[in-house]
C-alpha cells in the first residue's frame, strides 16, 4: 500500500543533485540525478554536438554511457566528438555504444554497478521498442539512472509520439536551434550556445544575453 508523506517529511527529503557550475549552473541550476532529459531539434542544428558536450560535462560527476544508435561510432561521429565537440580524452569519462537493443541496454542497467547516466541518440531508432507505454515503464524501472534522450524535431515538436511523451515526462527539455540550446523545464532556463560563432550568426548578438 502506498504510503503518504507529511509536508515536514517532504521538506526534509534530500535528493542527489549534480553540482553544476558556470554557465551550466546559470541555465540548469543543480539538476536532480536520475531524471529524464530530452534534447530535440532539427537536423544539422547541433543536437549531437550539444549532447556530446553535455555528456562530457556530466561525466565529471558520474560515468556516462552514450548510445550512438543513429550514427554508430563511424567516422562522422568520431569527428563530431573530436573536432567539433572537442571532447577531452583525458577528462571525459564516457563510454560509447553503437545501436544496442533495449533488452541489452536493460541488462547493462541491471548490472550491480550500472551506469548512472545514459544518452540515447536517438529516440527514433528506439521508437518500436519504446512505444506502447514501454517508455514510461523503462524510465521508471531505473530511477537512479539519468536518461538523456535525443529526438528529431518536426513542426516545432519532437518527432514520433514516444518523443512527444518523453517531452511531457522529461524534467529538463533542451531544444536545439541554430547551434543554441534553449533550456526549459524544472530549472532556471535560458540558452546555452553550442558554438558561439554560429549561434550569433544565426540569432544575432542578442542570444548572448
Amino acid at each position: 500500500m502506498a504510503r503518504a508523506i507529511s509536508l515536514k517529511t517532504l521538506y526534509e527529503k534530500r535528493y542527489e543533485v549534480y553540482d553544476f557550475n558556470g554557465p551550466w549552473l546559470d541555465v540548469l541550476g543543480n539538476p536532480e540525478k536520475g531524471k529524464v532529459w530530452l534534447i530535440y531539434g532539427d537536423e544539422k542544428n547541433g543536437k549531437t554536438m550539444f549532447a556530446l558536450k553535455l555528456a562530457e560535462y556530466l561525466s565529471q560527476f558520474e560515468p556516462v554511457y552514450y548510445i550512438s544508435a543513429e550514427e554508430g561510432t563511424g567516422k562522422s561521429f568520431q569527428e563530431n566528438a573530436m573536432k567539433r565537440a572537442k571532447l577531452d580524452v583525458k577528462k571525459a569519462n564516457i563510454k560509447f555504444l553503437e545501436y544496442t537493443e533495449l533488452d541489452e541496454v536493460e541488462k547493462i542497467l541491471s548490472k550491480r554497478k550500472p551506469p548512472k547516466t545514459m544518452f540515447f541518440d536517438n529516440i527514433t531508432v528506439y521508437n518500436d521498442e519504446l512505444a506502447y507505454g514501454r517508455f514510461r515503464k523503462f524510465t521508471m524501472k531505473y530511477p537512479k539512472t539519468t536518461m538523456v534522450f535525443i529526438a528529431h524535431e518536426e513542426r516545432g515538436e519532437p518527432y514520433t509520439a514516444t518523443a512527444k511523451l518523453c517531452k511531457r515526462l522529461a524534467r529538463y527539455i533542451l531544444r536545439v536551434k541554430g547551434m543554441t540550446a534553449f533550456v526549459s523545464g524544472s530549472c532556471p532556463g535560458g540558452t546555452i550556445m553550442i558554438d558561439e560563432q554560429s549561434a550569433q550568426l544565426c540569432h544575432g548578438s542578442q542570444i548572448k544575453n
Binding site: N45, K86, D88, K177, E196, G204
Partner: protein, 677 residues
C-alpha cells in the same frame, strides 16, 4: 596570446602553456610526443630549437585550455567579420552636395562614412544570417530585428576597437533605413539630402524673397532697400496691396511674416538678388558687367599681326572754349603693343572708314600683310559687319564686342597713353572721379589748345609710345617688336574684295589701251604687273572703249596706291602707271630701257592683234539691189533716164530630150495601202 600562424591555424607558444597547464616543459614535450602519430591529442606546429620556438596547435588543445587562452579567430561580435571601412563612401560623401550646392562638413562626412561602413557590414551579415537560418530550417521572421540588435550592440565594439561611434537608428526606424540603404545606398544615410529641411523654419522664404526683389526691381522710381522695408511693413499692416501683374494674384499679408528692416535690406543686397535687380534698375551695362559678369582670361599673343585691337578715343585735351575734344581712332597690334593706325577728326563718324583706309595704306607701304584678326567695338563697326568686316574680306576673323569695354585690349593701351604719356602734357584734363587721387581733377583751369597743335602733339606722343620699350622685351621698342615678330602665316591683302568698300570710285573709260585716272594715263595690269600680249588683249576686249568704274585707294603721299577696274560690278583688272623713259637716248638708264621695252611690247601687243584680226578678213564684196523707191509716180519730163525695153526677152525652151520622166517601179507584192483604197 595565441596568434594566427597560417591560414586558419593558430599557434600557442610554450610560455603560455608551461607552467600554467603543464608543470614542466618536459611533460608537455612528452605529451606532444605521445600523441605525435595519433589522430587526437595535442600537436606541434613547429619544432623548437636553432632559433625557432616550439609552437603548439591551438585547435589540438583541450577545450578548457582553449577557452582560457582565447581564440584569436573568434569574432567578438557577429558584425565584426563583415565590418571594414568602406572604400567608396569617403569619395561619395566628399563629393556630395546638399541640395546640389553645399558640400558636407567634414565631421558629418566622417559620421556618414562610419554609418555606411556599418550598414555595408549589416547587409553582408543579413545575407549570411539568411543562409544560416535556411540551412538550419530556422524561420526568417525577426531577422531585421536581430540585425537591429546587432547594430545596437556593435557600438561597444566600435568604441573599444576603433574609438568611433555610429549614429544609426536602433529604434523602429532602423527597418526603414535598411530598406532605404538597399535601394539608395549611401544617399539613404544623409540627413536632409535636398537641403530643404530647414526651409519650413525660415522667416524669409522663397516667396517673401521674391516679393522683396520684385518690389525693389519693378517700381519705376527706383526705391532704396529701406523704402522696400517700409513698403513691406505697410503691406503687412494692410496699408498697401501687393499683387502680381501677370497672374492677377493678390498677396495675402497673413501668409508673410514680420521682418526687420535690417533683414529686408540684407536680403535685397545679397549678391544673387542684386545680380538680378541691378541690371533692370541701373541700365548701365558697362557698370553691371564690371560688377557682376566674370570675364574671359586670355593669354597674350606673341606674334605681330595676329590680332589688332581698335577703338575710338578722345584724348583729354580741348580745342575750343566749348570744351570739344578731338576724336582719334587708334589701332594697336596686341602682341607688339605698337599703335599701327591712327586717324583723327572732329567727329567720330567721319573717321571710321578713313581709319580702315589708313590701315591698308600703312600696312601696304610698310610691306606687311593686314592683321589676321580684328577686335572692335560694336557701335560704328557693326554697319560694316556684312561688307568690309565679313570674315575673309579684310580680316580673317572679326570679333565685335558689343558694349563690352573690358573685352578689348586697346582699352589698356588707352589707359597707358592717358596716364603714362599724356598726363604731363599741357592741357591734360583729369577725370573728376578717377580711382587714384593723383589722377583726379585739380583746381587748374582747362587750357584750350588749337586743333592742329593738339593733333600734332598727340601724334608725337603716339610716336613716343611706339618707340618706348616693349614690356616683355625692354631691349627693343614696341615698333621694333612689331617689325621683328610678324606672323608668318598672314594672308596678303585681298584688294579685289576690299577696294569696292574702301576705295574712291571714279567713272572713266579705256582708250587706246590706256585708262585715264587722276589725270594720268594708266596701263592695264594684273597682280601688280602691266600686261602684254594675249593677256592684255583679253582685258582690252572687255573694257576698251567702254565706260566703267575704277575703285582706287590713295597712298600717304596722295599717289594712287592701288586702282582696280570693275565693269558691270565685276572685277576686271588692275590699272597701273606706265613707267616712262627718257626721250633722249643718251640720258636713258637701265630702268628707262626696261620701261621702253615694256611700252614697246604693250604697243606691239595691240599692233599684233590688229594684224591678226585684219588677216582674218577675206576680200568679200556685196551687190545691193534693194529698190530705193516705192513707185515711179513722180517724174521730170526732160530728164534722160534708163528705160527698160518694152519687148519681153525671148526665152528658149529646154530640149525635149532633156526631160526625164519619172516611172515608179512596179513591185509584185501589192502595197498595204491598197487595202484602204
Amino acid at each position: 596570446m595565441p596568434y594566427i600562424y597560417s591560414n586558419k591555424t593558430v599557434a600557442v607558444e610554450v610560455e603560455e602553456l608551461v607552467p600554467r597547464f603543464w608543470k614542466k616543459i618536459q611533460s608537455l614535450q612528452q605529451e606532444l610526443y605521445r600523441y605525435k602519430d595519433k589522430p587526437f591529442g595535442i600537436k606541434r606546429l613547429q619544432l623548437g630549437g636553432n632559433g625557432r620556438k616550439l609552437l603548439v596547435d591551438f585547435d589540438s588543445l583541450p577545450s578548457d585550455i582553449q577557452d582560457s587562452l582565447g581564440d584569436p579567430r573568434k569574432a567578438e561580435h557577429p558584425l565584426q567579420p563583415f565590418f571594414e571601412w568602406d572604400s567608396e563612401a569617403p569619395e561619395y560623401y566628399s563629393k556630395f552636395k546638399r541640395g546640389g550646392t553645399t558640400i558636407l562638413k567634414s565631421d558629418e562626412q566622417e559620421r556618414y562614412i562610419i554609418n555606411a561602413s556599418v550598414m555595408q557590414a549589416v547587409l553582408k551579415l543579413e545575407q549570411a544570417r539568411i543562409q544560416e537560418r535556411l540551412k538550419m530550417k530556422h524561420t526568417l521572421v525577426g531577422l531585421t530585428e536581430s540585425l537591429r540588435y546587432d547594430v545596437e550592440s556593435f557600438q561597444n565594439y566600435l568604441r573599444s576597437k576603433h574609438e568611433v561611434e555610429h549614429t544609426l537608428p536602433v529604434s523602429i526606424r532602423f527597418k526603414e533605413l535598411l530598406k532605404d540603404f538597399k535601394q539608395n545606398k549611401f544617399l539613404a544615410l544623409i540627413k536632409d539630402p535636398t537641403g530643404t529641411g530647414k526651409q519650413n523654419a525660415r522667416k524669409v522664404d522663397e516667396k517673401t524673397e521674391m516679393i522683396l526683389n520684385a518690389l525693389f526691381k519693378n517700381q519705376i522710381h527706383k526705391p532704396t532697400p529701406t523704402d522696400i522695408a517700409r513698403n513691406y511693413d505697410a503691406f503687412l499692416n494692410g496699408y498697401a496691396e501687393v499683387y502680381n501683374e501677370d497672374t492677377g494674384e493678390m498677396y495675402n499679408p497673413k501668409d508673410f511674416k514680420k521682418l526687420s528692416p535690417a533683414t529686408i535690406i540684407n536680403y535685397i543686397n545679397k549678391w544673387e538678388n542684386t545680380l538680378a535687380t541691378y541690371k533692370a534698375r541701373s541700365g548701365d551695362r558697362q557698370v553691371y558687367m564690371g560688377k557682376f559678369k566674370p570675364h574671359h582670361q586670355m593669354q597674350m599673343p606673341t606674334m605681330a599681326g595676329s590680332i589688332i585691337s581698335i577703338d575710338d578715343r578722345q584724348p583729354p585735351f580741348i580745342y575750343n572754349k566749348q570744351g570739344d575734344r578731338a576724336w582719334f581712332y587708334l589701332g594697336v597690334d596686341i602682341a607688339s603693343q605698337a599703335i599701327t593706325t591712327v586717324v583723327y577728326g572732329k567727329s567720330k563718324e567721319s573717321i571710321l572708314i578713313d581709319f580702315y583706309r589708313q590701315m591698308v595704306r600703312n600696312y601696304t607701304e610698310w610691306g606687311y600683310c593686314l592683321p589676321n584678326e580684328l577686335e572692335c567695338e560694336s557701335s560704328l563697326n557693326s554697319s560694316y559687319k556684312d561688307t568690309l568686316l565679313r570674315p575673309g574680306t579684310m580680316f580673317q576673323k572679326v570679333k565685335i564686342e558689343a558694349n563690352n569695354a573690358r573685352g578689348k585690349y586697346i582699352e589698356r593701351i588707352n589707359g597707358k597713353l592717358r596716364y603714362e604719356i599724356e598726363k604731363t602734357a599741357m592741357g591734360w584734363i583729369a577725370r573728376p572721379k578717377a580711382k587714384s587721387e593723383a589722377n583726379q581733377l585739380s583746381s587748374e583751369k582747362k587750357t584750350v589748345i588749337p586743333f592742329d597743335i593738339l593733333v600734332n602733339e598727340r601724334m608725337l606722343e603716339i610716336e613716343q609710345f611706339n618707340n618706348s620699350a616693349h614690356p616683355d622685351n625692354p631691349a627693343i621698342s614696341r615698333w621694333d617688336y612689331f617689325e621683328q615678330n610678324q606672323h608668318a602665316d598672314l594672308k596678303p591683302t585681298n584688294w579685289e574684295l576690299i577696294l569696292p568698300h574702301l576705295g574712291h570710285k571714279t567713272l572713266t573709260s579705256c582708250n587706246a589701251g590706256y585708262v585715264k585716272l587722276q589725270g594720268k594715263k594708266r596701263a592695264i595690269a594684273q597682280n601688280g604687273k602691266i600686261l602684254t600680249g594675249e593677256a592684255l588683249i583679253q582685258q582690252m576686249r572687255v573694257i576698251e572703249g567702254k565706260e566703267f568704274e575704277v575703285y582706287w585707294l590713295d597712298g600717304n603721299e596722295g599717289q594712287v596706291l592701288k586702282a582696280l577696274v570693275y565693269f558691270n560690278g565685276r572685277f576686271v583688272c588692275e590699272i597701273m602707271e606706265m613707267p616712262r623713259y627718257n626721250r633722249a637716248t643718251i640720258e636713258r638708264t637701265a630702268a628707262d630701257e626696261a620701261a621702253l621695252q615694256l611700252q614697246s611690247s604693250y604697243v606691239a601687243s595691240v599692233d599684233l592683234f590688229e594684224k591678226r584680226q585684219r588677216s582674218k578678213i577675206e576680200n568679200v564684196q556685196i551687190i545691193d539691189n534693194t529698190p530705193k523707191t516705192v513707185n515711179s509716180n513722180f517724174r521730170f519730163k526732160n530728164v534722160k533716164r534708163y528705160e527698160a525695153r518694152e519687148e519681153p526677152a525671148e526665152v528658149f525652151t529646154d530640149d525635149q530630150d532633156d526631160e526625164i520622166l519619172y516611172t515608179p517601179q512596179q513591185t509584185a507584192v501589192p502595197s498595204w495601202k491598197r487595202n484602204f483604197m
